[in-house]
Amino acid sequence: MTIGAVLLSAGILGAVGLGFAILISIAHRRFYVFEDPRIDAVVGLLPGNNCGACGFPGCRGFGEALVEGNTTPAICTVMSPDAREDVASFLGVDVGSADQRVARLLCAGGRDVAVQEAEYVGLETCAAATAVASGGKGCTWGCLGLADCERSCDFGAITMNEVGLPVVEPALCTACGDCVEACPKDLFVLMPLAHQLLVQCRNLLDGDAATAVCNVACNGCRRCAADAAPNLIAIRDGLAIVDYDHYDLATPAAIGRCPTGAIVWISGAQFQEPARALQGAVS
C-alpha cells in the first residue's frame, strides 16, 4: 500500500461526490416545487390534533386548504375563537361561520330502563361484547355502556353517566367522528347543535315488543308524527325518523304525547333529565 493508492481512492471518492453534488444541484433547480411559506406558518397556528373533523387529511391538509382559500378558519372545531381570529387575520380572510356540530347518541336505554337478557362476562369493551350474542341486552340495537366511545374521544368530551350512557359535552365535542367509528352498534351521529329534536332510539321492534325490552324505546305509535308539522317525522320500520332537511319546521310540540320519552327536545348535553319512562301513555 503506497500513499499513491490512498490518494487515488480519495480522489475517486471526491470525484464521485462532486459529480453527485452537481447532479443534485441541477435536480434541485429543475424540479423545484414552490410551496407557499404561509402554509407552514398557518399549520403552526392550528391545534395539531389531526382529528379530521374539518374533513381534510389532518391539520396540514386543512392549512393548505386555508391558504388556497378553499375553506374558512371557522371549519376547525378544535380552535378557540381567538385562535380562529389569529388565523383569519394572518391570512387576511374572514373567519367565516360554521354550525357547531356535536355527536349525539341514538339510544337512551341505560341500565335503569333497558332489560338485560343475559349477563355478559368477559373483556370489558363494547366491541368484544357485541361479538357475544350482541352483548346480552334485550334490545339488540342498544348501547352496551362499556365506554368504547369514552376511550376513543381525544378531547375528553364523553363521560359515562351513572346508568351507563355516554354523555357528550357539546362545549368539548369537535365532531371529529372518532366515537362514530368506535361504536360497534352505530349509535352515534354527528349533527348540528342547533338540531334539538331527536329520536333517541334505533330499536326496529313495533309496539309492545319494543317496550318489552326497553322502557324508553320508540314503539312506532305515530303520535309525534301527528303532532309535528306535516312530513317532518316519518315512521319507518317501527321507528320515528326526523327529516332534518325540513328541520326549520320543528317545534317541541312533537314530543308532548310520546308515551315512552323516546323523542326528546334537547338543549345542550343529552340525558340531563331523568328518563320519562312510560309516563303519559294514557290520558
Binding site: 369493551t125 368484544a128 350482541s134 339488540t140 367509528e181 360497534p184 315488543a209
Partner: protein
C-alpha cells in the same frame, strides 16, 4: 389408515362426546309455535310468499330464495302464520322471521307429492330439486348446497371430500347420522358425485368415532371410488381447508376456495339430507341437533323441526341444571353464545351446548408473556399474539396487513393462551371494525 393424514398446528381439546355419542336419535314432539327466520343460510335472506293468517301444511314453501346464493324456507309443521316480524336470531340480532302457530292435533302429514327418481334427472333438474328443497350445509356455516353442486366449469372437480370429522367437542350430530343413516350418506355421495362429475369421494372421519367409521365402511358401494380415511383426532380438522390438507395433502391458498384446487367439501349430514330429498320428496324442515353439556338434565340427540325455540328444546331435555351458566349454539370452540331462550333452531344449528359453571371460565386476562403457544396452535399460520396486541391498540390497518381476514375464528389461540387473553373474541370484534371502517370510507 390415516396415521400420517393430518394438518399442521391445531389443538387437542377434550372431546367430551361421551355424553351423547351412544344415545340414538329421537324425534322431538311438535312445539306449540315455530319461528322460521328468513335468513338461515349464507347469502341473501329469503322473500316471504305467505301472508299472516294463511294456513300452511308441513313442507309448504313459506319464502322463496332470493338470487343464486340463497335458499327457500319451508314450513316445518302444519299451522297458521301468525306474524312475519323481527324475532331474536341466533347470531345475536333481531331478524325477520315467520311465526307459525302449530296445530296441536294435526297429523302433521304432508301434501301428496311426486318423488323424483334422481337417476332420471338431468344435472340442472337435480340442482333445481336440491335448491327448491332449501338444503344448506348442516355443518354450521349453512352455505346453500345447490351452489356447491354446480361449480363453474373452469374449475373441474376431481374429488368430493366428505366431512365426517365433527371436530368440535360435545357434538355428536354427524356421528349419529353416520351410525344410523349410513345408506343415506352413501346415496348423498352418489348424487353429489353425479352432479360434480367427480371421479372419487373420500370420507374423512376422526378416529374417536370407530362405530361411524365401521358403518360407513360397511356400506361402501362397489361401483364407485369411495373410500374412508380415519383421521387423527385434532381440532379444527373439520374446517374445510384443514380437512383438504389432511385428506389430500393439498393447500388451499388464502382467499381461495376448495374448488380452486379441484375439491368440493360437503358435510355428512348435508349429504344425508340431499338423499332424503329424493327418498321422501320433503324439503329440509327438520334436522338432528345434539343437546348436551353438564348444564342440561338429560342430554340427547334430537330430530328437531327447524324453527323450534330453544326454550322448547331445553324443556324436552328435562330443563337446565341449577348451575347452568351459558348456552351455546354449535360447539364450544366456534359456537355462538345465546342471550335469549326464544331464539329458534335454524338449519345451521348443529348442537345446543348448555355449559355448567364447571365448564366455563372467567379468569381475568393477564398480560401476554410472548410464549408463542398461539403461533403453534393457529391452523392458518397467523401470529395471534401480534394481532392481539394490535387489536388492543386499535391498529386495524396493520391488523389487516397481518392477514386478520384469513382468521376463521376457530378459537385455537384463545384455547391455548396461558394468560387467558380472549384472542378470537378480539379478532371477531376487529373483523367487524375493519368491515365498518370500509363502509364508512366508501
Amino acid at each position: 389408515m390415516g396415521f400420517w393424514h393430518s394438518f399442521r398446528h391445531g389443538v387437542h381439546p377434550p372431546d367430551l362426546k361421551a355424553l351423547t355419542a351412544a344415545i340414538p336419535i329421537r324425534r322431538l314432539p311438535y312445539p306449540d309455535e315455530i319461528v322460521l327466520p328468513l335468513r338461515q343460510h349464507a347469502g341473501n335472506p329469503a322473500t316471504p310468499i305467505v301472508r299472516v293468517g294463511d294456513r300452511v301444511e308441513r313442507g309448504d314453501t313459506l319464502a322463496r330464495a332470493e338470487g343464486h346464493i340463497s335458499a327457500p324456507v319451508h314450513a316445518s309443521a302444519a299451522g297458521r302464520v301468525t306474524a312475519i316480524e323481527l324475532w331474536p336470531h341466533p347470531d345475536g340480532t333481531h331478524a325477520p322471521a315467520i311465526r307459525i302457530a302449530v296445530e296441536r292435533y294435526s297429523p302433521q302429514a304432508t301434501r301428496p307429492r311426486v318423488i323424483p327418481e334422481w337417476e332420471g334427472l338431468s344435472h340442472e333438474e337435480l340442482i333445481a330439486a336440491v335448491k327448491d328443497a332449501g338444503v344448506v350445509g348442516l355443518g354450521g356455516a349453512a352455505f346453500p348446497a345447490h351452489v356447491k353442486l354446480a361449480p363453474p366449469p373452469e374449475f373441474p372437480i376431481d374429488t368430493l371430500v366428505v366431512n365426517g370429522c365433527e371436530c368440535e367437542p360435545y357434538l355428536t350430530t354427524d356421528h349419529r347420522t353416520m351410525v344410523e343413516y349410513p345408506e343415506r350418506v352413501q346415496l348423498g355421495i352418489r348424487i353429489m358425485l353425479k352432479c360434480l362429475g367427480a371421479k372419487r369421494a373420500v370420507v374423512g372421519i376422526e378416529r374417536n368415532k370407530p362405530d361411524a367409521v365401521d358403518a360407513i365402511r360397511n356400506t361402501l358401494p362397489d361401483d364407485l371410488d369411495v373410500s374412508v380415511l380415519d383421521l387423527t383426532v385434532k381440532y379444527p380438522q373439520g374446517a374445510e381447508k384443514m380437512l383438504i390438507k389432511a385428506v389430500l395433502g393439498r393447500d388451499v391458498p388464502s382467499g381461495r376456495l376448495p374448488m380452486h384446487v379441484g375439491v368440493v367439501v360437503q358435510n355428512v349430514a348435508s349429504l344425508a339430507t340431499i338423499a332424503e330429498v329424493f327418498e321422501t320428496g320433503l324439503p329440509l324442515i327438520e334436522r338432528i341437533v345434539t343437546v348436551t353439556g353438564l348444564g342440561i338434565a338429560r342430554p340427547a340427540n334430537l330430530l328437531v323441526p327447524v324453527g323450534t325455540k330453544l326454550r322448547d328444546l331445553i324443556e324436552a331435555c328435562g330443563g337446565m341444571t341449577a348451575d347452568a351458566r351459558e348456552i351455546v349454539f354449535g360447539g364450544p370452540m366456534m359456537g355462538m353464545a345465546q342471550a335469549d331462550l326464544d331464539v329458534p333452531i335454524t338449519k345451521g344449528t348443529t348442537g345446543v351446548v348448555v355449559l355448567s359453571r364447571a365448564e366455563t371460565r372467567d379468569q381475568p386476562s393477564l398480560p401476554c408473556i410472548k410464549c408463542g403457544h398461539c403461533l403453534d396452535a393457529c391452523p392458518v399460520f397467523l401470529n395471534p399474539q401480534h394481532l392481539g396486541a394490535l387489536a388492543l391498540a386499535d391498529r386495524y390497518a396493520e391488523m389487516e396487513q397481518a392477514h386478520l381476514m384469513d382468521c376463521m375464528l376457530c378459537g385455537c389461540c384463545s384455547y391455548v393462551c396461558p394468560s387467558h387473553i380472549p384472542l378470537s373474541q378480539l379478532f371477531a370484534a376487529s373483523k367487524a371494525r375493519v368491515r365498518k371502517l370500509k363502509v364508512l370510507a366508501a
